[in-house]
Amino acid sequence: MTAPDPRHDTLERRMPRADPAAATALERTWRDPPGIIGWFAAINHKTISKRFMVTTILFFLAGGVLALLIRLQLAQPNAGIIGPDRYNQIFTMHGSTMMFLFAVPVMQAVATYLIPLMIGARSLAFPRLNAYAYWIFTMGGIMLYAAFFVDAGPDAGWFAYVPLSGPQYSPGKRVDFWAQMITFTELSGLMEAVVIITTILKLRAPGMSLNRMPLYVWTMLVTSFMVLFAMPSVMLASTALITDRLVGTHFYNPGEGGDALLWQHLFWFFGHPEVYLIFIPPLGFISSIVATFARRPVVGYPAMVLALVTTAFLAFGLWVHHMFATNLPELGKTFFTAASLIIAVPSAVQIFCWIATLGSGRLHVKTPLLFVLAFFFILVLGGLTGLMLASVSLDTQLHDTFFVVAHLHYVLLGGAVFPLFGAFYYWFPKFTGRLLNERLGRWNFWLFFIGFNVTFFPMHLLGLWGMPRRVYTYPAEMGWGDMNLVASIGAATIAASVLLFLVNVARSLRVGAVAGPDPWGAGTLEWSVASPPPMGNFEVIPVVHGRYPLWQPQPEPTHVEGMSNEWREVLVTTVADAEPDHRLWMPSSSVWPFLSALATTVLFVGSIFTPWAVVWAAVPVAVATTIWFWPRRAVVRERVRSELRP
């Protein structure tokens, strides 16, 4: 336990605290009811977010085990460990789990915890909708894994190209479960995006104008706007696939006017922004971690924000680079080559700004910074292989080979999972009040870094030597055996490192060093409250005067007064300059979001078996959501007494 840091008490004095009586009243108001029913009725953003994070990490571990099975089967040529049918299910489940059940949701889960704390708000804008989105996500994941355990797991790849995933070549319900899992996760993702956008734009603490928002909050705002316009594409595509399979529509039936490429266009119009949905939030993690551990603000705030916005727009313009091997016109493809190259510029700007920040700062080298530094090695390598894949002619050799498997893991793990681990090490003290062990952290990092490169760098060579993607085995005389063995050993190393992370978490929860409000001496608002934060986050809502409030002098006024402690009240502020606009009561904890999610699950799963499920299951959904909305007479009578009209 480090000696209590003298500087902390100066921090305390500057951030005014409410008197203990008000603090306990606030805690009681924002706390969820106890007991089993209370557990299901919880809507506090931190409770839901912690469950969300744990659920997505469990899916990450499940996806990891599937990856180990894949590497086990591919370690040696002609291995008979896993048959083709089982293997197709395993690699499809690995891809679908990692992309839909882990990568995008975990970023939203972390965001729903951090954003209210970083912008000085006591809650998310629509807490019940946030709870509903979590339950829908979890039930979708459970449905997919239930299908997988009864041998009905999807087996057409994580992007399920038609006609293989169509009604004729995928008999049974396997692809239906996959398409319905898309409906679950996208519905959840879209709702979380609406919650995050509204929270960021309307609930910022007074004084936190747009140019004073932390860069992480900017990344989540940009990501959420991308979600609004990207995810509908895959929802339309998967709905069309389910109607093709169940009621006989012909969207993808070439014989009756449909087209196989319509699926690829719709899927990849979502697919490429999707990988940026996974990549942009970690840019926010890196900005936060680099600023704190370089002991100085990130270089070029406006340049960083503009780079985020540019990346978001360009991400919608390059989906056809996934379809360079099809018979689309060559000139069109060259346009997408150019678009795929240009999108490297905003990312380059951000990387250069971070390097400049590190160079001109004083470095406090701890595990979070190590994970971020790994980004500069792995993501940059992955980005450059991406530029190779951007060229049409090169892509005809590299597309759908193990070169692409290497590229996507370099950008996804290097660009998202490494910074995510860094973020866990950085914000774990804020979530739990205890620091993760530094020595275990270093072991975890180095094992992960070395294991990662040993696993995925050889795959570049395998791709060039002609090994295609998604093969359950390969002949011995192709000479791919050695590199595959090396990759499999690397995969085991990654597994060891993730196990070490779990050990570190389990150990630190019990005996980790007590963190206190600000163990890293960081600059943003979440470090001005206790760890773990009280249920209402801020005993008094702060007034913000700068980008790094804890690092800058705090002029008058310092905080907001006059908010009720008996009601869950938030201060709604204007969009641009966050000036106080009006007070708003947040809804009470309720079981109905959970029950509505249950009813929606019955509707979705039922509609796999009969189209009429959409009709008769809509009734319980309507009933549940109506009760969820319906105000309680007693509560309203209380609130009306202190109501002030605009």
Partner: protein, 213 residues
């Protein structure tokens, strides 16, 4: 007039008291872009507009591949489509009155106009049933039939959900419990209704006229 001026005009603003900003005098609900509900509704509108736009693009994508369009040779009959468009456009009038009444916090006005809106929603839901019959194609006849049914089906889902939302709100306006925030819900529901009506116009053009040119 932005939120600040409105508050200042109404004498309800944050008052500086020493180092603190006292907001106890500020209103507890607000209309239009000042309310988070507006932003939530706009998020929903953005999502659904994207779904509609992509379905329309899929319509023209499939049409560009087809030798004969519509493949079943008969475009939809215009009668029910035109009638429904008229009803939908007309339904914007009671909606607008309900929105104004809500923003005047006039409970009686809201009850009246929301009831009128419900009558309109019954009308266009009924007509919509006939529209499906007049499409002259089945969803499983060919790609044309599939995409036309998907377009009409998606919009119908929005009609049904919006009609049900408005019904729940109307009933709540009669039975109570009443509080100021409910008027914001009426105002936002009207805003969403505008979207459902206005989004019908391009879909109407595509379904009924896309097959005639």
């Amino acid at each position: 007039m932005n939120a600040l001026e409105q508050n200042r005009a109404a004498g309800k603003e944050a008052v500086r008291r020493g180092a603190a900003l006292d907001v106890s005098g500020m209103p507890t609900f607000a209309f239009s872009t000042r309310s988070p509900m507006w932003w939530g509704t706009m998020g929903l509108v953005a999502i659904e507009s994207t779904v509609f736009a992509l379905t329309i693009m899929a319509y023209f994508y499939l049409r560009s591949h087809a030798t004969v369009w519509p493949m079943s040779r008969f475009p939809p009959d215009l009668l029910w489509g035109n009638l429904n468009t008229a009803i939908l456009l007309a339904s914007m009038w009671p909606n607008h009155k309900a929105k104004q009444a809500a923003e005047r916090l006039d409970l009686h006005g809201v009850r009246l106009w929301m009831t009128v809106c419900m009558v309109f929603s019954l009308a266009f839901l009924a007509v919509r049933v006939f529209e499906f019959g007049a499409l002259n194609t089945r969803w499983d006849s060919d790609a044309y039939g599939s995409v036309v049914w998907m377009l009409l089906g998606l919009h119908t889902t929005h009609l049904v959900t919006d009609a049900y939302d408005s019904l729940v709100l109307t009933v709540l306006m009669f039975t109570g419990p009443h509080e100021g925030k409910r008027f914001v819900d009426v105002s936002e529901n009207a805003g969403y209704w505008y979207f459902v009506v206005l989004s019908w116009l391009p879909i109407y053009a595509v379904i009924y006229w896309g097959a005639r040119f």
